[in-house]
Symmetry: C2
Subunit: 408 residues, 2 copies
């Protein structure tokens, strides 16, 4: 059961002019399961991507990077079941074979296809089953296919994840719709497992690429479930250019600011949905660190807290065993941190100051906050002006169960 | 149930001339539980210590550092139940009060007392109960008190941990005996939760300090249970100087080499005992990384594997889901790692090479190795001559249970 994540309803995902989506059952790893998605883009579409920094990055990620650098992308192909990571030269061949087959089915060039895979690492991609499934997915292409696609990209996710917003720019409606997946191996470094966000706005390629990086940094790059950075993390931002607004190319224009705000908010919603549906999650925690010298040290402290198995199991138990938070702050790597200056709050309750428990702290206040499903932790490092926020979930029996069972 | 850890028998821990140990029930946090230990040292004893790098280091750790720098230590006082960490100025006062009371009971100076605490963080030390218990612990001092002390320093440990060795130097018997504790919040950074090792050898203070650092680096600083670096990690090496050998002061002498080898082996045995009794452990894993440019990058890779919740849950399930090991290697932080060159073995089975699964790998071979309780993972980075070894355990339901229940 995801934490405070409203059920995704089909009619809440507005179509984005210039985007069509189709899914099918290709039998990649298991039968009777939608596991192959094709997303077709209009010729005018611009695409920007941000990918995993894992050195064992998957073959499709490597192909995506190359194809994006070569220019116009017209289609995305996404399979679940097998990640096509840790697959060596054969994996690269399989990713390219996927592009050739999709290009043939869509009458475009192979370099215009971006492949994505998610699933088990170190197993070969059954590329014949994938390519055999492509015509079916292409035949299913429709503008309102977002809801089906959100389902078809799931692995250990318990619910589909999607977001949709409409804003006004140049007196025109601009739509922003996206989907994401991921529940484990989640500690994105530059992007997340799979996140796709599309708008019909007309925006210049440089600003689109900047927006992809900024949105990833503030959303997918600010979450963790288990601290494991995936081999396949990919975040793709698409601008189909169908909305008829004047091209957004000036980063001081109101149109840019409006688009930027809406895209970042949508990306944060998708990223938080991944944490709310994190493997075994029963709590959703927002860890805000302020008063740092720079954003990097604020993030280091937030991630140390958010990835500590001891902190996460205490939250699972709703036990305000808050010394574990102090220990995590202490080992986060700030060599000259003065612990006598910092302060820690649980929700609105001051927990620690002057290097120890706050005089005003009462265990029952901590227990009251811990009983909630949605909990804030705030740390003031009191040594600068920078801040950072990270979202995470707790660590439960079910995380162990899901990951001890995943391949079986 | 610890993994392949033979039961500690009382008569296997040889007394060390110049060391007496006494324990008592002081009721620090729970009743009917030995929770206070005093270790008395002969006047000739030399002591070296290595402590946690956690910035929220406990009050007793801070007092220990100061007292060790001031010269001769004559006694160690160890309480469980409360860590006296995250306790601010009051915590410092309580640690000093402990030293004053112990000094009075033993007729030594307060600066000659080293205090140690382990248990819950952020709660005040009930120092009156501790000092009230001291006379009882002092009255119980005896040379063969090591076994009782190994019990009295336990927290979530399921078994006591001790080691004892005898070597010959200068045609004299030299004894090395030690005890350790710790089962969770184990990812020592410079030392471990609590480890005490004593020898009666005569060794110079500079070589003793060097040996403490080297032994800690190769033992306690090479283990992880959950990646959480404690606030109270302390490793103490004592040389009582009672053995009558010529002082060991030359680091090229055979006596130094013999003592060094025996102390390091004893420290590794104590450190491995902590992992074998790691919270919820069902498997003991040895992760050996070789072929690195330096020891630091080998350690980074070994710890990335050894701390990955996904790797640890797969081992709990005895599931050779080995792609998770590749993902961990990939995110270990070596920016220019060439994954096509490295090789990975599970036990003696080659799993991965050329960036993917080895052609010779068979799932049944992986499953056979995974069925063991004691498993080796070897990674050859193929880019240099350095190596490092890290020991860890798996991640089970019981880890979650123990840490969701710990305070209750």
């Amino acid at each position: 059961m995801p934490v405070n994540l409203p059920a995704l309803l089909p009619d809440t995902l507005h179509p984005v002019p210039g985007v069509r989506l189709g899914v099918t059952e290709a039998g990649i790893r298991k039968a009777n399961r939608r596991d192959l998605t094709v997303i077709e883009l209009a010729a005018e579409a611009r695409v920007a991507g941000v990918f995993t920094q894992n050195r064992f990055c998957a073959a499709p990620v490597q192909v995506c990077r190359t194809h994006l650098a070569q220019g116009s992308a017209r289609a995305l192909v996404i399979n679940t079941g097998v990640a096509n990571a840790g697959t060596g030269d054969q994996g690269m061949l399989d990713a390219r074979t996927t592009c050739v087959a999709a290009a043939r089915a869509l009458n475009i060039a192979p370099e215009q296809v971006l492949p994505f895979s998610t699933g088990v690492i170190l197993e070969p991609l059954p590329v014949e089953r994938l390519t055999a499934g492509l015509p079916g997915a292409v035949a299913a292409l429709r503008a309102d296919g977002w809801f089906d696609a959100a389902h078809a990209i799931m692995t250990t996710d318990t619910v589909p994840k999607g977001v949709s917003r409409r804003i006004r720019i140049d007196e025109r409606d601009i739509t922003i719709t996206g989907i994401s997946k991921g529940a484990g191996m989640i500690r994105p470094n530059m992007a997340t497992m799979l996140g796709f966000l599309a708008t019909d706005a007309v925006v210049s390629q440089p600003l689109l690429e900047r927006l992809a990086r900024e949105a990833a940094d503030l959303s997918f790059n600010s979450i963790t479930v288990d601290g494991d950075t995936s081999t396949n993390d990919s975040f793709i931002l698409i601008a189909t250019g169908q909305a008829g607004n004047a091209e957004i190319a000036d980063d001081t224009s109101p149109a840019w600011l409006a688009l930027r705000e809406a895209v970042i908010a949508a990306a944060i919603e998708l990223a938080q949905a991944i944490v709310r549906d994190g493997e075994g999650a029963t709590k959703f925690m927002t860890i805000a660190v302020k008063g740092g010298r720079d954003r990097a040290e604020c993030r280091a402290v937030a991630y140390a807290i958010g990835q500590s198995p001891l902190v996460k199991t205490a939250f699972f138990a709703s036990d305000p065993n808050l010394g574990r938070i102090l220990a995590a702050i202490g080992y986060a790597g700030i060599a000259d941190l003065d612990v006598s200056q910092l302060r820690v709050w649980l929700g609105d309750v001051l927990v620690a100051e002057h290097g120890g428990r706050a005089a005003s702290y009462r265990e029952e206040d901590g227990a009251r906050i811990m009983a909630d499903a949605e909990i804030g932790i705030t740390v003031d490092l009191a040594r600068g002006q920078a801040d950072a926020t990270v979202w995470t979930c707790d660590f439960s029996y079910d995380y162990v169960k899901i990951n001890a069972d995943y391949r079986s």
